[in-house]
Symmetry: C2
Subunit: 394 residues, 2 copies
Amino acid sequence: MVEAVLAPVDRVREADEPHSHVVRFGSDKPLRLDAGVDLAPFQVAYQTYGTLNGDRTNAILICHALTGDQHVANVHPVTAKPGWWETMVGPGRPIDTERYFVICPNVIGACMGSSGPASTNPKTGAPWGLDFPVITIRDMVRAQAMLLDHLGIESLFSVAGGSMGGMQVLQWTASYPERVFSALPIAASTRHSAQNIAFHEVGRQAIMADPEWCKGRYFTEQKDPRKGLAVARMGAHITYLSDAALHRKFGRRFQDRDNPTFSFDADFQVESYLRHQGISFVERFDANSYLYLTRAMDYFDLAGDYDGVLANAWKGSPTRFCVISFTSDWLFPTSESRAIVHALNAGGARVSFAEIVTDKGHDAFLLDEPELFAIVRGFLEGAARARGLPAQRR
Amino acid sequence: MVEAVLAPVDRVREADEPHSHVVRFGSDKPLRLDAGVDLAPFQVAYQTYGTLNGDRTNAILICHALTGDQHVANVHPVTAKPGWWETMVGPGRPIDTERYFVICPNVIGACMGSSGPASTNPKTGAPWGLDFPVITIRDMVRAQAMLLDHLGIESLFSVAGGSMGGMQVLQWTASYPERVFSALPIAASTRHSAQNIAFHEVGRQAIMADPEWCKGRYFTEQKDPRKGLAVARMGAHITYLSDAALHRKFGRRFQDRDNPTFSFDADFQVESYLRHQGISFVERFDANSYLYLTRAMDYFDLAGDYDGVLANAWKGSPTRFCVISFTSDWLFPTSESRAIVHALNAGGARVSFAEIVTDKGHDAFLLDEPELFAIVRGFLEGAARARGLPAQRR
């Protein structure tokens, strides 16, 4: 793992030579993609925290969200900011790295060291760009299973993640039920709604409208579609927050002034905040990756793989589930989590469900939510007893 | 009014020489703007339908929304499509042009013939662009009041509009209570929320990110920021519909195929629909106007003009109000209309309120909503009796 603050590094180099562990799969071990092609060679970048026990029974896989990466609980090599889930993962945290061995891979299609459109295409020596095959949530999970094989981990104690991470959790429990002892899908859904697809499509169009996108060949053309990517991020960011949270944080307050400027400056605090979100995002993220990962989310439809019957995805599942949603999440509303719980019940799976009351919206899974921490801690504690892991030191 | 289908015309020419009535105010009659400057000379383009009675007591002013214009109930000169509120306004319609004299002006800042950033700046002979002063909802209403003075209409029988049109209705009743006998604010609010400002800001950033925007000088530079404006429209369009309506209309259905293409084509029907919305919008709308009108909406805060107490805006108001909202409108939710009703009650105004159950979202005010038609018809009928207008012929 990355132990100390690194000087912020170039995100372009991270795509091939990340500041992480990396496993490289050769041509003999292709990744079979849903698109019907094999990806080979390819690589998976990942971080680990804690120690694998002798029985190899204490591993927890963390699946990251659309704009996340493997840097869960260490300083980020590009931004020099803290890990994205440091409140959840670490020594003494709900996902306690003194007790569990935590693995977080960068997803396939992303840009922090797992193969994706920003990686070098071995056939050309140039970045893949749009020649990278379109991937799915199931492809991400397949690559993660290959990583676990490589690490010699047959069965995960748990797999956890929010948003797109939750989609991967759900896919794991459907694709590899025997490898998942417990599962924590948070603020997730088994399919993207028309509204969600619509928001993603606007983001993609914003990127593709930027002339510096160059049909995805911006690396070779020495361009960077920063403006398009920033607009995409700004629009998406609104959907991560609730109306109430935006009102509480910003309301109609002006930025550094008392009266309107009667101009197109960022008069309102909320404008200033959004512009900052857009600008800081482009420092660490690849525009093509944004296209690929939003597409993977749009394509996700778990029931579709089981004749349209979601319960079939989990028939006789041995996994213990804890499904968590947030009252003010309008992107992945509680109704989606309820549908998961109903299908799990119909499939006879073991499931608990918590809807957490908060005004923080979809982003609540990343924020300081004491109830979320308590539920995750308690659920893992119960699962650890059932798994026969040693009791927690007090 | 425009009686017949015109061949679609150039939107650029419409800004100065519209296919409408136009009143031109000279340097002796400036429009005093909230920004602290005078706009002069300036012009207001408008359409009328029906006949003004001898007492001049049957005039209804229609205020259009962000992307609307004066072509309420006639074929549009640029798009050759039907008027935007033909279901509401016309012979025998709820706003019955056989009974009422209907006036619809293009708002100041727009691009269909009232002065705005696409109009020719008389000082330079070139389009105003960003040299046009930033305008407010109150400025729009001031210009409309000058139009009514010009038409010799002292008192309106009613003023009606949805969304940004509803904001103008509310401003009318606050600025000129004695000139408004009845008022119909539909799907409106007295202030833009942080979330609404945020969505608008993303749209503005999408336009400004387009290199063809040229800091607003695209006319002079022979450019056209079509891509940026289309992205802005796509994003905004999502907010006009409800999640349920998008699900009902499109769900996750593919466009012209059974399986995903594993590409960035418009696989899903909802993507195809949104792209069409973006492309068709840019044919008829000016990118700078989009900046100005969204800004005017963001600045709107009626209570702010009355020491933060909304009820003061309507103290002793003689106007009869009918406030209408829609259950699935998340852009201007019912809570906003309820706040209007509470303030009107506190100010002692005469008000009725209807929340219409529909899954059509904010756009419901433009769509075929029988309950909306019945309420508007009934409210106007009651107001007509109170005004002493002759009973409707049966």
